[in-house]
Amino acid sequence: MRRMHVVSAMVGAFALLTLAGCTTDPGVTAPTETTGSEETAAPSVEWFDQALFDKQDAERSVVPEGPDGKPYLQYINAEMVDTSQYKAEGAKKGCFANASISNPWRQTGWITMNEQLKALQESGAISELETRDAQDSDDTQIADIDYFINEGNCDFFVISPNSTAAMTPAVERACDTGLPVIVFDRGVQTDCPVTFIHPIGGFAWGIDTAEFLIDNLQEGDKVVALRILPGVDVLEQRWAAAEKLFDEAGIEAVDYFTGADPVEIKKIISDELAKGDVKGIWMDAGDGAVAAIEAFEDAGVDYPVMTGEDEMSFLRKWKETGLTGLAPVYSNFQWRTPLLAAQMIFAGEQVPQEWVLPQSPITAEEVDQYLAANDGMPDGHYAKFGGEDLPGYPTIWQERQIP
């Protein structure tokens, strides 16, 4: 009996809702331009993009503009946009749709961002930052952005997209509110945000690292490439550039997906060493680099030429072993920039439309300097986190207090 009630209640509710008439989400509007749909329609996306490769290659050697000693405020080849329309007094409320804090790089950045927030709250520029964490899910992040649009009472949006194409419609909806939108880290396929903040990019990383390995290796040497996971554009571009350069230089490169799991990394390197000589290790992110080095130790062979990342675990092991290495950097200090950009926008100051932050690797000569500067930081900390002048330094990062 009760079952019938449920059923009829359902049917009734459905009918009522239908009578009430359809309403499109007020925030949802048809896309104004549909370009881009055709070129992405190919079943398989090739990550290599010659134009972008050349652009980033050139940006590597540009001396950035902006204040000295504050890399998080510097920019490369910027085209400035006027923000006088947003000029307003008083502390503003920010709404931050974060992709996740599921890896050490994002955690470090998130800590830095919160310290930057405290500084700006004290100076009266920002009242609060409401954050929703999508836990690596596109669908959740879209819902998060819609929630902010409907319920957030936001004065500005900060969005760190979980993925590029999928987040584009939601970011466009946020832009349609007329409030300033700041996007950082991974991009979106629209130029509606006031500013898009990111370091030079994946191709620059790939060029830096591949050139270093090619310079230090002979033609025909073997490089093992350790990659975290497929399908993430910032990571895929690193490999796309490196693979191309290795190919051109006659370096033999094999790539593996490791999930940044050191157990997996160690097994892969051990098997590669059992097969034959490995002269170089290339990583698309340095997380887990120590396990790769230890695999060489355990096998009793010479250390490889290696590129890791500016994660402390790699810098420490690099120093300890004295191997030939390079620590490419995907500038972690970019997590400070969005809030500072918001402050500038509400002050009516010009900001770069595409804010390209400097991104330069840590070389062998600089390791000691960065190790000393980050003494006492945990292994998962990133050397170029850029928060040395913030109030909680260094305890907050040493204790890794995640808000």
Partner: protein
Amino acid sequence: MNAVSARRRSGRRLDSTVIVYLALIGVIVIGAILVATVGRSFFSAGNIRDILTGMSVLGFVAIGQTLVILCGSLDLSVPYVISLSSLLAADIMKGNPANIAAAVAVALGVAALIGLANGLIVTKLKVHGFIATLGMGLIIKGYLDTNYKGTSGSVPWEFQLIGATGIGPVPVSTVIMLAVALLAALFLNRTRVGNHIYAVGGNEQVARLSGIRTANPVILAHVLCSVAAAMAGLLLASRLGVGSPTVGTQGGYDLLSIAAVVLGGTLLAGGRGSIWGTIGGVAIFAVLDNVMSVLQVNPFMKDVVRGIVIVAAVAVYTGRQVERRRARFGPGGSATEREGDAGPDAQAPAPASASTQPDSAQPESTQQSAAQHNSAQLDTNVGDRS
């Protein structure tokens, strides 16, 4: 056989579903208070939309998962089916509304084939559902990783409307999900195969002895589960505007859907449970996530809360159930007593079942008592297991 199982089910189903919805109301009340403490309204249109949106995708997956779990299997391949269907749909649509029908048909068709393969592996090769679908998931993952290097295709605006339109604060996607739930509930309770799903999950041997071809319900449940997962994939494609090879795994829909099904009062061992309970379980998850997001709970802490709530909620539910079942071994708890509380509608399937098994030589009464005996025996088994 059918009469008995239906009676047992309906008595139980109301009970468990009521508990689930009581729990949901409890969660909503606590959530509304917590949300109010940070100066927000739980019942505002935007918040309700957020909760219902959160329910839609998991709802589709959990409906399918319910069918599979009811017949004693489970499906761990759903995340990959979701990703695959989102990609197939977006690639075929290519931004052209004329391709929508073909894209939907292909996505659902391919998913049905995957479900068919799962079902055949489980029933014909006798591979446990856990391993069969884990393996199938890995196979699809290999295909996705090899052939797709990121998001792909493009969904036309007309199809994106499914994910973006709402009837008041209720998203169309939620309405579709509830309509599918209604169909699934009718399928389970009003069709012969639906009844057989319960029978096979309750006790496969008894089901076989009573003349059910036990493989068919299992295969069909797997097919429907994969199709439901593909619907979730289509909805995600509609929301994302593109197909994505990782969108299924991102949501953790495999374990989360199983948890939602169990939270909704369905026995993990099969044979007992309901679609509406599952929807309640999905709603509990959605409200929980919404409240934690509004309160800006640390993302790591969210997982801790989720873990504790899953166990605690199921504990409250199973605690009750076990007591009821124990009572049956006592003097007053016999099968005859349950006949009393079964309600009139439970009698309805009885003649149907008799007529659908004309080739069964046994008289109906014998069949019934045998089934009763066996179901009591199974209950003790299940009780100790679960």
